[in-house]
Symmetry: C2
Subunit: 366 residues, 2 copies
């Protein structure tokens, strides 16, 4: 039966049935009072999940679009940006900053490790002339399954005074991320992750300080412009036609998320990822990230057992057990496979996945 796939990739993540049905409603006009009411509820929901009093803008774009919005509203050509890189998505910040003409310096650690906040502190302490304007960092690095100690990293950035720009694409709504309390200046996220809706929307929240810096941006991005976004946000609308059906679906997803509660959502992700890690270790498989303190609660990277290939595991899981897991990316391709517990994922799903993975390994061992 080919119509039963369960997605355990880092995104898109599974979508609840009631959200899919909301998605399928006839579109309504985006300049109507009805739509503004929906948008207003979504804005409130976003603030709640971002744990912020800032406005949270909705862009019709994938997460990379929101990342471009961050750089495209802050960077002038020649600005110094420091990018903390622990995987592919950290690299993406650096690439985007360069595309807007920034002078980018990279601090990189081997894949599978996290950034040490003291390394950041030491580097920034040397910047006596305060030339570094922005520091970019990934909260949860999906390519490796590592969660950075973002609170401590942001604290180190604050001591220096640069803006902290954080990719929370696979953390917001899954792993605790307190924008205001921790002092994150710009936080971005994406719809097909913790938000339990399909891809097509991304979100950005900027602090007052970041907004002041934006005002000095000579050629701010047009499509992702913060000034336009803010002007329209205040009227419960958007500058351009948004992905209406996805926003209606988001409104429905917030009902489910609010019913569960933020603490419970975060606890569920921790519980499911821990259950998965323990189950995998019991099977005799090795985890790519052995250090519990930096292991992601959204995505778990696993090494295949000796003699069995990653493509064979993925193929058997998909064809025989209707479970889709991700390969590694770039250098990690065929060296690890990655299983998501992100978004609409229950304990039952993890038990199912563990049983299926065990059966897969058994089948491939014979």
């Amino acid at each position: 039966m080919r119509d039963k796939d369960f997605l355990m990739i880092p995104g898109p993540t599974p979508v609840p049935e009631s959200v899919l049905l909301a998605l399928a409603k006839h579109p309504i006009g985006h300049r109507s009072g009805e739509f503004s009411a929906i948008l207003k509820r979504c804005h409130e929901g976003l603030k709640w999940l971002f744990q912020t009093e800032n406005d949270v803008f909705i862009f019709t774009a994938s997460g990379t679009g929101a990342m471009c919005s961050a750089m495209g509203n802050l960077v002038n050509r020649g600005d110094k940006v420091l990018s903390l890189v622990i995987g592919n998505f950290g690299q993406r910040w650096a690439k985007i900053a360069k595309s807007y003409g920034a002078d980018v310096e990279i601090i990189e650690v081997p894949y599978g490790q996290a950034i040490n906040p003291n390394v950041v502190r030491e580097r920034l302490a040397k910047d006596v002339n305060k030339e570094i304007k922005i520091v970019t960092v990934t909260h949860n690095e999906t390519s490796t399954g590592v969660t950075n100690p973002i609170k401590e990293i942001v604290a180190a950035i604050k001591e220096h005074g640069a803006l902290s720009v954080v990719d929370g694409i696979t953390s917001v709504g899954a792993i605790d991320c307190k924008q205001d309390e921790w002092g994150i200046d710009v936080l971005v996220s994406g719809s097909q992750k913790g938000f339990m809706i399909p891809p097509g929307l991304s979100f950005l929240s900027a602090s007052k300080r970041a907004f002041e810096v934006h005002k000095q941006c000579e050629y701010p991005d047009f499509y992702f412009n913060w000034t336009d976004a803010k002007k329209n946000y205040d009227k419960d609308t958007t500058p351009w036609t948004p992905a209406i059906n996805l926003i209606v679906a988001l409104d429905k997803a917030f009902e489910l998320l609010k019913e569960e509660g933020l603490e419970n959502i975060i606890a569920r992700h921790k519980h499911n990822a821990t259950l998965l890690r323990e189950g995998v270790k019991e099977m005799g498989l090795k985890l790519f990230v052995e250090d519990e303190s930096i292991a992601s609660y959204a995505i778990t990277a696993i090494l295949p057992p000796e003699g069995i290939s990653v493509p064979d595991i993925r193929k058997t899981l998909k064809n025989d057990y209707n479970i889709v897991v991700a390969n590694g990316q770039n250098d990690l391709k065929d060296r690890i496979f990655r299983m998501g517990t992100l978004g609409f994922c229950s304990e039952r799903d993890v038990l199912t996945a563990l049983a299926s993975l065990k059966a897969t390994i058994n089948k491939l061992t014979k």
Copy 2:
């Protein structure tokens, strides 16, 4: 009954039931063979509607995003751009070009009129040093209900040698627009118009010549980058996570569109708009665009009868007849109302709208 609204705005347009059901399918992974097959069919469908042999890129963004892609992949700061403006959407081209640092000159005509190709020819003839690099123009101007004589305008641009960059957002799939035959260099469109799916996707097709100019762009847009789009297009994938469900819906919509055939689609739009115009005139109302040769087949702008306000007409049409029509924009607000016959609209829908408009006027006259 509040769940029965029929959209006659210029977008979003109504979506067929089978397309809504496709939209509501569980998302599948965007790096899978299944999704690539869907994307490939959509690419073929887009080439067919764009009437081009060029690649047509799909962006997860509204139509304005595709417009930013055009400017953001061609313009270097200081480049000369000539914008031909007949309404709000023509103005948008000029604003976007400026946001990328272009030196923009505007040729504008009073709203309700079209651009005269000879005016373009004369202006460009004066540019003996060939400083004008790009000419932007709107095919169908939704804010006024005017369709520019795009074939003749593009011919005038070709004589000069500048790139023609055309907004086909409300023309492609509704009003004849032959990209290759007419020599349009860059053509953009959006999903919630002739494509019969909700908003969230936009499309761009660039000629070989435009692609050569793109290669000279110093800081091309990152999110909407053509080089990345092309590299991924050739592998039936996208650089970033696309709005998967909207692409699945697009694939379904193409089934319906292909079944009808492009000639029939264009003829249906012409027939429906003509029927609407004649019916409105019979009622004694005035059309904002009286000249049949430039009247849009996608959107018809209508003046309210003496003594009846546009807001009252819109409110009565919506509350009593469940029909949503658009107000005018900017200076035309409350001076005209606009009725769309764009996308999934049948002759029955037009007859229904005419009967409802007549009843509305009668009711408001009493």
